[in-house]
C-alpha cells in the first residue's frame, strides 16, 4: 500500500496549486466583473461590446486555466478544449455567413 501511494502520487495527482493562486484568480475575476458592469454605464459605441466580450473571454480563460487546472493538464485536454471551441466558432461563422450574404444577389429569397 505504501508503494501504491507513491506510484499513484506520481501519476494521478493533479497539480496542487498554492492557495494564493486561487485568491489571485478570484480577485481577477471579481475585478473583471466590476469593470464590465462599470463600462456598461458609459456609452462607447461598439467598444462596449468588445470590452464586455473581451472580459468574458478573459474570465473564462482564467477559470479554465487555473480553477480547472488545464494549465497543468495533458496536451490531449488542450486539444479537446481548443477543438470544441473551434467547432463552435465554425458553426457560428458558417451559419452567420448565410445570413450576412443574403440579399447580395439582389434576388429576394436567394
Amino acid at each position: 500500500m505504501e508503494h501504491a501511494h507513491e506510484n499513484a502520487g506520481h501519476h494521478t495527482h493533479g497539480h496542487i496549486a498554492p492557495l494564493s493562486m486561487y485568491y489571485a484568480v478570484f480577485g481577477a475575476l471579481m475585478v473583471g466583473t466590476a469593470i464590465t458592469v462599470a463600462v456598461a454605464y458609459v456609452d462607447l459605441g461598439f467598444v462596449n461590446t468588445a470590452v464586455a466580450l473581451g472580459i468574458a473571454v478573459t474570465k473564462a480563460t482564467l477559470v479554465i486555466l487555473y480553477f480547472m487546472h488545464v494549465r497543468w493538464a495533458s496536451r490531449l485536454t488542450w486539444v479537446v478544449i481548443v477543438g470544441s471551441l473551434f467547432w463552435l466558432i465554425l458553426m457560428f461563422v458558417i451559419a452567420m455567413t448565410d445570413y450576412l450574404s443574403r440579399g447580395w444577389m439582389g434576388v429576394p429569397g436567394r
Binding site: L76, S84, W87, L90, M91, I94, A95, T97, D98, Y99, L100, S101, R102, G103, W104, M105, V107, G109, R110
Partner: protein, 541 residues
C-alpha cells in the same frame, strides 16, 4: 463456412453463461452483453421501421390514397424515418458491433466507462419508449426532419417524439464518449495508432461526430419543444423567429449524422475486405485518415440540404463545393478496397457477398449524392424521389449491407455458433435483388419529378411505383431470412472455433465466445493490423 482453422474448444465459462438470470443481463456492465442488449433492441426497432416502410410501399401501389388517409400516410413515413434513423441505423453498428469489438480490438477488458455504457443503453430504451408512446398515442406527422413552423402547429405528438429523439441522442453521445476515451487511454501495450484495425479508426471518427454534433440536435429539438409547449418564439416567424435557422441547426447535426451511419459500415468493410482476401488493406493510412477527413469535412456541408430554402445563393455555392470535397475521401476508400482485392485470396463467404454488394451500392448512392450537391441539378431533384433513392442506396445498400456483413462475420465470435452458410448466401442475393428493384425505379420517378412524402401521385408514375413496391416485398423477405437462420443457429448451430475464417485480429485470438474479461492476459501487440504475410512487406506501384 470455410474449414475451421485450428479448432479451439471453447472454455466452459464465457461471457454468455458466466452469470444467469434476467438481472445479470439488465444490470450487466460487460460491453459484450450490452452489445447483445442493443442487438435485440435495434432489431425490434428495425422490424418496426420496416413495418412502417411496408405500409408506405403498400399505399404507394396505387396513385390514389386508398389504403390510408393522407394523414395516416404522413405519420407512417415520419415514423419510418424517425425509427430507422434514430433507433436503428445510428446505433446499429456502433452500439452493437462497436460495443462488442472496440475493447477487444484495442486489447482491453472493457470500455473505459462500463457503467456509462449501460446507462447509454437505458437511455436508448427510454428514448425508444417515449417514441413508442408517441406512436401509440397517435403518431407524429412532421417528417423525420421536424421542420417548423409545421412542427410547431402540427396536431400530432411532436414533443413526445422529439423527447424520444433527444434522449436517444444522449445515448449516442455517451457511446461516442466511451469510444474516444477508450481508444486514447485503454490500448494494449504496443498497440500504436497505426497498428489499430481500421474498424477502430472509423469508430473513432464516428465518435467525434457523435460528441460534437449530437448536442446540437438535442438543443434544437428542445428549443422546438419549448416553442411548441411554452410559446417561446425561436423559429416561428410570427414571433420573430426564423424557420430556416432550425434547418441550419438541424442539418448541422443531421448531415454529419449520415456519416455516423456510414463510417462504421466503412470500418466493417475494411475488416471484411482484409479478412476475405487474406491481405492487408491497400493504403492503410489513406483509409484511416479518410475516416477523419470525412468526419471533419462532413461538418461543413450541411447547407446542401437548403439549396432551395431561401438560403443565400453564395452560401449555397460554398456548401456545394464543400460537398464535392467530402466525396473525395469516400472515393479514396472505395478505390482502396477494390485495390485490396487485387492478388488477394478471395473467398466468397456470405460476409464477403455483403461487402461486394456494399462497394457497388455505396458507389451508386454516393455518386447520386453528387447529383444533389450539384446546385443546378438539386433545384430540380430536391425533395423528389431522387433524394429518397439516393439515401436508401447509401443507408440500406451501404450501411445495412455493412451491418449485415459485419454481423455475419462476427456472429460466430459473438455467439460461439455457426449459421448456415448456404442460407446466408441466398439471403444476401435476395436482399441485393430486392433492394435494387425497390430503389432503382425511384431514381427515375424522382427525376420525372415525383415529390417525396406524397400519399397520392399522378397516374403516370404508377408503373415505377409498383416495381418499387414489388421490390420492397422481396427485400422484406430477404431481411427475415437472416433473422430466421441466426436464431436457428443459436439453438442448433454447430459450435464455432476461435478463428473460423482464418482471419487476423485480436478478436480472433480469444475463444468464441470469449470470457467476460476478454483477455486472460493482457496482449502485447508487436505487429501491424492485417499482417497476413509476416515479414514480407513489399510496396508495389
Amino acid at each position: 463456412m470455410p474449414s475451421p482453422h485450428a479448432p479451439v474448444t471453447a472454455p466452459a465459462t464465457n461471457y454468455l453463461n458466466a452469470t444467469h438470470g434476467l438481472a445479470s443481463w439488465l444490470l450487466t456492465k460487460d460491453h459484450k452483453r450490452i452489445a447483445i442488449l442493443y442487438l435485440i433492441s435495434i432489431t425490434l426497432f428495425f422490424g418496426l421501421g420496416g413495418l412502417f416502410a411496408g405500409i408506405v410501399r403498400l399505399e404507394l401501389l396505387t396513385p390514389q390514397s386508398d389504403l390510408l388517409e393522407p394523414d395516416t400516410y404522413n405519420k407512417m413515413f415520419t415514423l419510418h424515418g424517425v425509427v430507422m434513423v434514430f433507433f436503428f441505423l445510428i446505433p446499429s453498428i456502433p452500439a452493437v458491433l462497436g460495443n462488442w469489438l472496440m475493447p477487444v480490438m484495442i486489447g482491453a477488458k472493457d470500455l473505459a466507462f462500463p457503467r456509462i455504457n449501460l446507462i447509454s443503453w437505458y437511455l436508448y430504451v427510454i428514448g425508444g419508449v417515449l417514441t413508442l408512446a408517441a406512436i401509440l398515442g397517435g403518431g407524429v406527422d412532421t417528417g423525420w426532419t421536424f421542420y417548423p413552423p409545421y412542427s410547431t402547429v402540427s396536431p400530432s405528438h411532436v414533443i413526445l417524439a422529439g423527447l424520444g429523439v433527444f434522449v436517444a441522442g444522449f445515448s449516442s453521445i455517451l457511446t461516442g464518449l466511451n469510444f474516444i476515451v477508450s481508444v486514447h487511454r485503454m490500448r494494449a501495450p504496443g498497440l500504436t495508432w497505426f497498428r489499430l484495425p481500421l474498424f477502430v479508426w472509423a469508430h473513432y471518427a464516428t465518435s467525434l461526430i457523435m460528441i460534437l454534433g449530437t448536442p446540437v440536435i438535442a438543443i434544437t429539438i428542445l428549443l422546438l419543444a419549448l416553442e411548441r409547449g411554452l410559446g417561446l418564439g425561436i423559429f416561428d416567424p410570427t414571433r420573430g423567429g426564423d424557420p430556416v435557422l432550425f434547418q441550419h441547426l438541424f442539418w448541422f447535426y443531421s448531415h454529419p449524422a449520415v456519416y455516423i451511419m456510414i463510417l462504421p459500415a466503412m470500418g466493417v468493410m475494411s475488416e471484411l475486405v482484409a479478412a476475405f482476401s487474406r491481405k492487408n488493406v491497400f493504403g492503410y493510412s489513406f483509409v484511416a485518415f479518410s475516416s477523419l477527413g470525412i468526419a471533419v469535412l462532413g461538418f461543413v456541408v450541411w447547407g446542401h440540404h437548403l439549396f432551395v430554402s431561401s438560403q443565400s445563393a453564395y452560401m449555397g455555392l460554398i456548401f456545394s463545393i464543400l460537398s464535392m470535397l467530402v466525396a473525395i475521401p469516400s472515393a479514396v476508400k472505395v478505390f482502396n478496397w477494390t485495390a485490396t482485392l487485387y492478388k488477394g485470396s478471395i473467398s466468397w463467404d456470405a460476409p464477403m457477398l455483403y461487402a461486394i454488394g456494399f462497394i457497388g451500392l455505396f458507389t451508386i448512392g454516393g455518386l447520386t449524392g453528387l447529383f444533389l450537391a450539384t446546385m443546378g441539378l438539386d433545384i430540380h431533384v430536391h425533395d423528389t424521389y431522387f433524394v429518397v433513392a439516393h439515401f436508401h442506396y447509401i443507408m440500406v445498400g451501404g450501411a445495412i449491407f455493412g451491418y449485415l456483413g459485419g454481423l455475419h462475420y462476427w456472429w460466430p465470435k459473438m455467439t460461439g455458433k455457426l449459421y448456415s452458410e448456404a442460407w446466408a448466401r441466398v439471403s444476401a442475393i435476395v436482399i441485393f435483388v430486392g433492394f435494387n428493384l425497390t430503389f432503382f425505379p425511384q431514381f427515375i420517378v424522382g427525376y420525372l419529378g415525383m415529390p417525396r412524402r406524397y400519399a397520392m401521385y399522378p397516374d403516370e408514375f404508377q408503373v415505377l411505383n409498383v416495381m418499387s413496391t414489388a421490390g420492397a416485398t422481396v427485400l422484406g423477405v430477404g431481411y427475415t431470412l437472416p433473422l430466421a437462420y441466426f436464431i436457428y443457429s443459436l439453438v442448433k448451430g454447430p459450435a464455432a472455433s476461435a478463428n473460423p475464417w482464418g482471419a487476423k485480429g485480436l478478436e480472433w485470438t480469444i475463444p468464441s465466445p470469449p470470457p467476460t474479461e476478454n483477455f486472460l492476459v493482457t496482449p502485447i501487440v508487436t505487429e501491424p493490423a492485417y499482417n497476413y504475410n509476416p515479414g514480407r512487406e513489399v510496396e508495389v506501384a
